[in-house]
Symmetry: C2
Subunit: 189 residues, 2 copies
């Protein structure tokens, strides 16, 4: 739980009372490898902070192909924001890649928290801003750079990805097939 508070205070300051109010709204949840936190079609009732482990979100398109939207290691957040906020059925699946420990907060408790600790509104705004900016960059790179370069950049920025995430998910995150990634990896060095 301290880990969560550290994550929040890296963006906004908290008094100990505020920290207390935050802590009591989150609940711990253990998710085994390959198990779902969210299934497409369900309503996404929680936002998750990854305390330990590794989690991915993905969609399944009309042809039945998976597309990894997000990869979240420790100290990152994951959710289907659209469903969480609109209360519409989700189009995303969220699944553990490793046995993971999550801290969850529900929609209702987040509403409460936002009114009790207005700073949290700011915190989440900044969190979402960063996610938005990085998604725009990801989009732009996917238009301007071939997959080989995006792969190299991804691994350099995140070396433990290779140890912890199967290549099929890395390929999907990059928007290519496992076969293409395999061929990319074979080239050069």
């Amino acid at each position: 739980m301290q880990q969560l508070l550290d994550n929040i205070t890296s963006i906004v300051d908290l008094t100990s009372q505020e920290a207390e109010k935050i802590s009591e709204k989150f609940r711990t949840f253990f998710l085994k490898r390959k198990k779902d936190l969210l299934r497409g079609g369900d309503i996404c009732k929680d936002i998750a902070f990854v305390s330990q482990g590794c989690v991915r979100s993905y969609t399944i398109d009309e042809n039945g192909n998976e597309h990894v939207i997000q990869l979240a290691f420790e100290n990152h957040w994951i959710s289907d924001l659209y469903s969480f906020l609109s209360l519409e059925p989700s189009t995303l699946f969220i699944e553990a890649i490793e046995d993971s420990k999550l801290l969850l907060i529900s929609n209702e408790l987040l509403e409460q928290l936002n009114s009790e600790v207005p700073k949290m509104e700011r915190f989440f705004r900044i969190l979402i801003q960063r996610a938005y900016v990085s998604t725009l960059q990801r989009l732009e790179k996917s238009f301007s750079e071939p997959a080989a370069i995006r792969y190299k950049a991804l691994i350099e920025k995140n070396p433990d990805l290779l140890q912890r995430v199967p290549l099929i998910y890395i390929a999907s995150y990059l928007g290519i097939t496992p076969e293409s990634l395999s061929r990319i990896r074979k080239q050069r060095h």
Copy 2:
């Protein structure tokens, strides 16, 4: 200015005092076709609400190719959020496609506004959330669907695009070249 307030109250309620405080922080700015609001390398000092006209943001990659990031008509917002919030030099250009009327708010005035009218924090959080979600969908579609289908969907959702935005920018927004878009348009009907 009423247009701006309408846009805000479509998401959060405002008292007339709050509306007043908001109005006085924005300034009107006319931007001629082909003129820049922001140049890459500069710091993005304002967020813009498009009151009339049409504006685009784009990057220029290492090879000198432009990539349209955003297209904003009336009642939409545009900025380089990354630069605006971090005060780092921008990587984006923002340019008018049509003669446009913008309402601008600077970083400092927005800070003030956020503290005077805390609802604005909420408003912008929701605005950014929506932008984030739609960018994620755009990314996923660009991985899962060929350009021809994305083009069709874009035009159906936004028919006046064809009247108002040159095809080169539409192509770029879709992540393809003008030549490819031309060929897509030639096929089927």
